[in-house]
Symmetry: D2
Subunit: 294 residues, 4 copies
Amino acid sequence: MATLGLVGLGKMGGNMRTRIRNAGHTVVGYDRNPDLADVHSLQEMVDALPSPKIVWLMVPAGDPTLSTIMELGDLLGEGDVVIDGGNSKYTDDAENAAYLATKGIGFVDCGTSGGVWGLQNGYALMFGGSDADVAKVQWAFDALKPADTTDGCVHAGRTPGAGHFAKMVHNGIEYAMMQAYAEGWELLDKVDIVENVPEVFASWRTGTVVRSWLLDLLVDQLHADEHLDKIAGYAEDSGEGRWTVEAAIDNAVPMPAISASLFARFSSRQDDSPAMKAIAAMRNGFGGHAVRSE
Amino acid sequence: MATLGLVGLGKMGGNMRTRIRNAGHTVVGYDRNPDLADVHSLQEMVDALPSPKIVWLMVPAGDPTLSTIMELGDLLGEGDVVIDGGNSKYTDDAENAAYLATKGIGFVDCGTSGGVWGLQNGYALMFGGSDADVAKVQWAFDALKPADTTDGCVHAGRTPGAGHFAKMVHNGIEYAMMQAYAEGWELLDKVDIVENVPEVFASWRTGTVVRSWLLDLLVDQLHADEHLDKIAGYAEDSGEGRWTVEAAIDNAVPMPAISASLFARFSSRQDDSPAMKAIAAMRNGFGGHAVRSE
Amino acid sequence: MATLGLVGLGKMGGNMRTRIRNAGHTVVGYDRNPDLADVHSLQEMVDALPSPKIVWLMVPAGDPTLSTIMELGDLLGEGDVVIDGGNSKYTDDAENAAYLATKGIGFVDCGTSGGVWGLQNGYALMFGGSDADVAKVQWAFDALKPADTTDGCVHAGRTPGAGHFAKMVHNGIEYAMMQAYAEGWELLDKVDIVENVPEVFASWRTGTVVRSWLLDLLVDQLHADEHLDKIAGYAEDSGEGRWTVEAAIDNAVPMPAISASLFARFSSRQDDSPAMKAIAAMRNGFGGHAVRSE
Amino acid sequence: MATLGLVGLGKMGGNMRTRIRNAGHTVVGYDRNPDLADVHSLQEMVDALPSPKIVWLMVPAGDPTLSTIMELGDLLGEGDVVIDGGNSKYTDDAENAAYLATKGIGFVDCGTSGGVWGLQNGYALMFGGSDADVAKVQWAFDALKPADTTDGCVHAGRTPGAGHFAKMVHNGIEYAMMQAYAEGWELLDKVDIVENVPEVFASWRTGTVVRSWLLDLLVDQLHADEHLDKIAGYAEDSGEGRWTVEAAIDNAVPMPAISASLFARFSSRQDDSPAMKAIAAMRNGFGGHAVRSE
């Protein structure tokens, strides 16, 4: 049995702590919120770990992750390993790995999928890093991954960022899959010919080409609220979708469906479309088409 | 000088009557609204025309055009010609031409562009029909088209529908051109780096690759309302954009930009996006992401 | 145990005959290819059926289905039922149902999903028709559908075409789901950072948001041919994707991802893109950019 | 009359030198290619300029521009001004301006449009920089811009990058406008109903909503090669289109048409679509659809 330092004990990190403990390991968890934390500081957490010290971060991407890594660089030492299990951009990983390497500290980046279901079903893990660093933390991956399968856990590459890159593309695919169901549902729900749309979606769960876990989730939601009347048509995006399209552009990869899905989310968050104001303005200019006033 | 029967004297038809009269011809105009009409009935209009009788329709596409043609089939005869100058779908033209042909009546379909500017600048005309039918009505085209140019007037083909097909594609192109400016404007207006967006657009009117009449119109609107605050982001579509995409699908022609422009209009008319409700529902299902309530 | 007349014994129809027979029923199969058929004519097939006679069509959509229904209209009678289980357009169903109704013959339209896996796993069935007609053929649905589940079989609506409409949307969703995986795979395969792309896809089969049957299939293919070197980037489309987008346009439903997926298939079948010829021509015109000659 | 140092004398820079000289000014041009250059080194060029020394760069974006600016930082001094008139990314401008500011050297970024037509018609200029720096170089803008209009020349903002940002969006708009014409042309050219497609496009040059300079260029090309048989469907992209979409993503601006236009160019450069290989693989997996072999 091993011991893990875990930084970030929100909804996701807290459940991961539980799953690792359920596997028989020790977790020393730190969070800025003392109500969630096992220890009062990163220093205290690090002091509680045996060598090689293994620290897993579940901290928001960007500055929070960066500053935590900077601080750990001063607390950890030769042979220790930091795992960034958050949603960092893959380009951040190279910088973080290089910084920690100057201190002799290893680095593994890990894209973590699982949401609220991970505690029960296991987390899907895509990680990048050297074979040596991965070997030191494999026990934690084994505790977190889904049981009874070789799936759900992959060493994506030895270059820092390989794991987050794989997870990023996973999320890009997820965007377009969700958009696929959403467009189909809108059409079915709008046209009168199909009488019981939730039952049609439910029927698709077996024997069809479109069966998937996302379909299962959508069916549950439709059974609770047939026309989704209680839910606003508003969707956030978490960054990975944007980065996926940016990576596609950098590499001259056509990505029409995933980008369309991303743009649909952007549109959903606009009360009024500025672009459509311009369209209305031009139509008024050439055709005298009446515009709607704000 | 010649005489034209003109059916439909709305904003567009009324201006066309004026332009043809300005060219020295006689127009006998009929409209269901007696305040606009020169005569009280189609019968009276037809009676006032010399042979071969030439009747130009500016009637809403679909049933109104169809029923007017049915009626004219009984009033006109061998050698007369009907011009459908409205926004009919090109597939309607073949049927209308075939019906009139059973009576010996010729048929020319004509896509008419010009909007509120046509009276002054002339109308762009794209027409389809036999050489013989076109020859009988060329004088009317000459009166309506822009002066001092061979542009603005084209015999697109001899098959009924050629003119409306050309006009339909014109409008499809127009949709995506407008969307191009609109997307660029939204980005420029949103980002702070450019201080005077209307002046940037104005500057583009000379020497750039994007100079066009649509740009001129947009500049006028931006000069009147810098951020288009008074205009809602809401755009109707008139049918031609839909038919263009449908024709593309029928012919396996990829049409990503024009279809995106059409869909952006559809979205602009939704208070809330049903598809995005489904996206929000699925995100809630797998990640516990909060949804916004209606 | 009951008896079914089955017309069309190709790959799909042949397997369906086997599955129905495996359920203990009798199938009298007719096909224009005598090597596949149990009887020599539609007449002989109909004669072999007890009343009410139930005939299932698995015939190509459009004219072949139409002509078969016309012929069956003369062979069947009051109280018999025809099931169109092929890929007919939903708008054809209303016409076919109306024609058969003049003879007192019932009609059920059924979208059938299952491909080469249906014989073993069961077929997913989405059908439309009156409760009375459906009741007469439910035994056949029960034989064909997946076992041990209430999924895979749904009475989508009582209007003719409800089943084919549901199946059409299913296929539209399928197009965009496939496009989602395809875009993600292209990016992962092109960028060097991830070393073993098939293993990443394989890992996604458990615990991730993108797990699905389509993913399972893609993993099998990637395990056989890591970079898909042996497969050309060429995809047919079967009609349902086109109809889905057309139905969306008819109903003003934005459908950016599914339409992008359809257009990507169109593009895949072009040796050279005409649109891109026009782009290259314009670039040459304004910038002197060299064009590639054919 | 004033004197300008001009670095980069390719097709674009060379014509700009001529236009400035035609306006009566002196240009000292440097290029790495001695056949094009007036002087043998940047040093020699700088020595030949009166103070305040004004240097205009027409150097490829990225490293070449960066290294030239580094070198000029050592050659120029307090009160001199560098204009980057190339196609630099707007985010580079802030860094370059900050570096030069440490030496007291001013910086103006200028997006330059005009292509092969600029020498004759003038260049459209969009520039960013402080009022003081712009005042020092306004004479050069006046020489380059189109004559007899206040258009074609705009001080987009005082933040470094404002000019290149405006030019970048101009090019993004250009991409989608070109795509609009290209999609429409492909449809018209493919369908038989319109007999003379070049004449239809030519007719649109007057009186229509789609009239533009790009249309004029396309008509010239179609008159030379009706079906564009001699041109391959292959289009490069120069960076600004990519950056436009990236800026849209950074700012949550939906940009479906411009991104579709960018992706169409990416696709045009692929002999075979990897994504479509994956589609074909999945179709083979579920339906036994034959794949085309490479």
